[in-house]
Symmetry: C2
Subunit: 237 residues, 2 copies
DNA sequence: TGTACATCAGTGAACGCGCGTTCACTGATGTAC
DNA sequence: TGTACATCAGTGAACGCGCGTTCACTGATGTAC
């Protein structure tokens, strides 16, 4: 089987499949993940509701594909930002990744909510989602590793050494990372990661009313201030 | 009308109303906000579905009440933690509030998701939710204000002064706060707030798999490390 | 190049379920005299 | 204290809508000889 579709059937299949996914994404925006409906998608595409089952095994499978696509789309956006900056400019890379995450989230709020919002009740994400899910965070890890390779002390910026229990808690992630990255650096990195997602979520989910200004640029400016401080917190400011 | 119900009718009404709210909370856990169903609640309480309308005007009104209750419940938990520590122990108060937020979220994950997770599609929160929503964050603001009154420089900890645009973005919240609190302090406070909610959300929404350990205490330990660093970031470490 | 067969896309009806909300009604509880 | 009336809780049927999924079927596209 070639990766590029050949026959008319194969081409049509690929096209309709992506139309179904697109329609699904549009429905996420208006009705949320819980309201994702195969019948509604079929209606939108002008086909019988049963026809959708030629392309998608079930509602849950469609949800899984949308989740994987969302992670991949975010991951690609982050990687593009990362790759656009030279390796020796760590603050630049860091800023680019943070901005890419926020920009992507603002452009695709429904998909952001799908992957970082409240979990869909009754749905359990299969293992296929794990790989795509770590694409963005891997970029931050890479930056931390580069910083470590240059001997940058993250510990100082994030204030003090980890307790024994604190280090033990990080064992799963410590095991996966290059040995040069200290527990303190990971602690700092995770905190920045949580701060980044927390900030984006607060902005996207409407918690900034009466806090951050509504003028154009206000939220960008706030985010920019966050980014410079996060960079400082992991020692690459 | 007395605030304490007197007649049998009034007592029954208060009781059944709170039973409805309780059942609603239970349903949030299993089906999420989007799946909240008046019929299901009625079934659980053994009454006709139409009877629920004696107590609640509509599904949306029930959702609003659950949201307000959640904010109030979280606010009360935070205030209890805050009040349990003396005013002169700012780090202690800060720690207590952070812990209270996480503990409450772990104990009431469904309600946490309701207020800080993805917004419910098609639902717009009425103005009544604004007041309760700010109860917790007010505590952190109070701590910042106390710190400012003691001349603690938050700016240093959060690295550098705000840009002009950064300060302008904070105008809405600057206007509400005591004049001693600088823009830099608020910037730091907001970042800690976002970090706190981001951390709790990541933990609660299942993003810590293969990152933080699963042993008892691992997540507590990670969170504790976060708290000490946040405190340092707002200058009260 | 033409034919026979297999594969696949799409249909429409059906099953069995759920939901929010309204409405006319019964019967119990509360209140005013 | 007793009676007449008003208020309110709760019922059950109904309206009109939605959903996921299955199934027997038709007709078009692809493939092997």
């Amino acid at each position: 089987m070639p990766s590029v579709p050949r026959t008319a059937r194969e081409r049509a299949r690929a096209e309709i499949t992506s139309e179904i996914l697109d329609a699904g994404r549009r429905h996420l925006a208006t009705d949320g993940a819980a309201g994702l409906s195969l019948r509604a998608i079929a209606r939108e595409l002008g086909m019988a509701s049963s026809a959708v089952y030629r392309y998608v095994a079930s509602r849950d499978e469609l949800l899984t594909r949308l989740i994987i696509d969302a992670y991949d789309s975010l991951g690609a956006a982050g990687e593009a930002g990362y790759a656009a900056v030279g390796r020796d400019d760590l603050p630049g890379r860091f800023t680019a990744v943070c901005r890419a995450v926020r920009d992507w989230a603002l452009a695709n709020p429904n998909e952001y909510a799908l992957i970082y919002g409240s979990p869909v009740p009754g749905y359990v994400a299969p293992a296929d989602t794990i790989g795509p899910a770590s694409r963005v965070s891997n970029l931050l890890v890479q930056i931390l590793a580069d910083a470590a390779a240059r001997g940058i002390e993250v510990a100082a910026a994030t204030r003090g050494e980890l307790s024994q229990a604190g280090r033990a808690a990080l064992e799963p992630v410590l095991g996966v990372l290059p040995p040069g990255v200290t527990g303190e650096a990971i602690q700092g990195g995770l905190m920045v990661w949580a701060g980044l997602l927390g900030t984006v979520s607060l902005e996207l989910f409407g918690q900034f009313h009466n806090v951050i200004g509504e003028n154009p640029g206000d939220r960008d400016a706030f985010f920019a201030e966050c980014v410079t401080r996060w960079a400082a917190q992991v020692g690459i400011g």
